[in-house]
Each structure stands twice: as C-alpha cells, then as structure tokens.
C-alpha cells in the first residue's frame, strides 16, 4: 500500500454531504471513498488520453439508413405494458 498523506481540500458542501452518504452506504470510510473515487477518475482520464476515441467508429455493420424516432422505441413497449 502507498504511503498515506494528510491532504486538505475545498469542495462544495452538497458534494461533501453526498460523498459522506455514498461512503456510508458502501460501508467504507470517507477517506477510502475519496481515494477510490480519485483513483477511478485518474484511470478514466488516463484511458481517455491514451485510447483513440474513434476506436469503435464503424465497428458494427447494421445498415441503419433511416431516422429512428423516440416514439418508435417506446410505443411498442407501452402497448404491451398496457395490454393492447
């Protein structure tokens, strides 16, 4: 495990409160929660700077050549849900 340091940071009160709640919900200490969150943030940042963002561009061959409307996505499910 890395050496631990004591750091002072300034964050908005609502973020602090939410972070305390999430840490408690996950049964972890606030310090551990902040450390993990920062670690994840660093990993995402690192990944996003090293990976080509267009890596997945054109990775599927579906042939979607029409507009897909939102109602079309939901209506079928709603019809089934409402039984008609």
């Amino acid at each position: 495990m890395s050496n631990l340091i004591h750091a002072t940071i300034t964050i908005p009160e609502d973020i602090y409160t939410q972070a305390r709640i999430v840490a408690a919900y996950n049964q972890t200490s606030f310090s551990q929660f902040v450390s993990n969150t920062l670690k994840n943030g660093i990993n995402i940042q690192s990944a996003s700077t090293t990976k080509d963002p267009f890596r997945l561009a054109g990775s599927l061959h579906l042939g979607v050549n029409r507009s897909i409307h939102r109602n079309e996505i939901y209506d079928d499910k709603l019809r089934k849900k409402m039984g008609y």
Binding site: S48, A57, G58, L62, R70, Y74
Partner: protein, 148 residues
C-alpha cells in the same frame, strides 16, 4: 452539413441516434456523424446526453439490430467515455419544463419533450439530432441541428 452556423462553444446535447450511427459503418449517416464528432473534439465542445439516450441507443442496437446486450452497452458507454460526453439527469423541475413544452407544441412527441426538458433543465439549449422536426415546437428553448 447544412448552412446553419454552429457555435461549438455552447453546450450541445447528443441524441441517441448519433450514438448508433457512430458505430454503424454501413449507415449513410455514419460519415457525417464521424465528421461531427471530429469537429466536437477539435473545438473541445462540451457535450451532454441523458441516461434515457443511453437506454434508447441500447434498445435500438439490441431489439432492432440484435447486437448482444453486453456488447451493445459496452460500446455505447465507451463512446460516452471516449468523448467525455457528460450524462445529465432530471431534477424536480424537469416535470414543470416538460409540462410547459407539452403546451407549446401541438404534436404529441412526448418522449422528445421529456428529453428536451432534461437538457433545458441542465441549461443545455443546443442539440444535435437527426430528428429536428420532432423538436420544432420548442425553438425558443432548444436550438436543434442535424449534421445530415
């Protein structure tokens, strides 16, 4: 692209269909979508979508095009992460905005109104989509542009 001048400094919403077209090499909308994403990167445009859009794109890939659920969701999330697209969520005010939008338009594109409400609630007033007509009644609140 159409002649409308795009202000890339603004916060722009990204509609679900663009996520699908980004992935689909065989779509006639694929290349314009790639061009758009390149422009967004070049201008460092702050981009946003909602959790609903992720589910919608997921549903299209899985239900209409039979991509396995896991792969479909991973691909969508990877686009979101790669382009640093922020995910915005509704608040207690979203329903008020939605109610207002329903009164503004004579059309019944309720899911589009709700999507627009979430964007506007998060102070996002610009949207890239293929379905500009679906938002026609909301012009005062949401500037909509199709990259196609």
């Amino acid at each position: 692209m159409k002649s409308m001048t795009i202000n890339y400094a603004k916060k722009w919403g990204i509609d679900s269909n663009l996520l699908v077209y980004f992935l689909d090499a065989d779509s006639k909308f694929h290349q314009p979508t790639i061009t758009l994403f390149k422009d967004l990167l070049k201008h460092r445009t702050p981009t946003y979508t909602t959790q609903n859009n992720i589910i919608e794109a997921h549903r299209v890939l899985v239900s209409l095009y039979h991509i396995p659920q896991k792969i479909a969701l991973e691909n969508i999330v990877e686009i979101i992460n790669s382009f640093n697209i922020h995910i915005v969520t509704p608040s207690s005010l979203t329903l008020n905005i939605y109610s207002n939008f329903c009164q503004l338009s004579k059309k019944n594109d309720l899911f589009d109104f709700y999507f627009a409400s979430i964007l506007v609630d998060n102070n996002i007033h610009h949207l890239f989509t293929n379905n500009t007509k679906d938002f026609a009644g909301l012009k005062k609140h949401l500037i909509v542009h199709s990259p196609f």
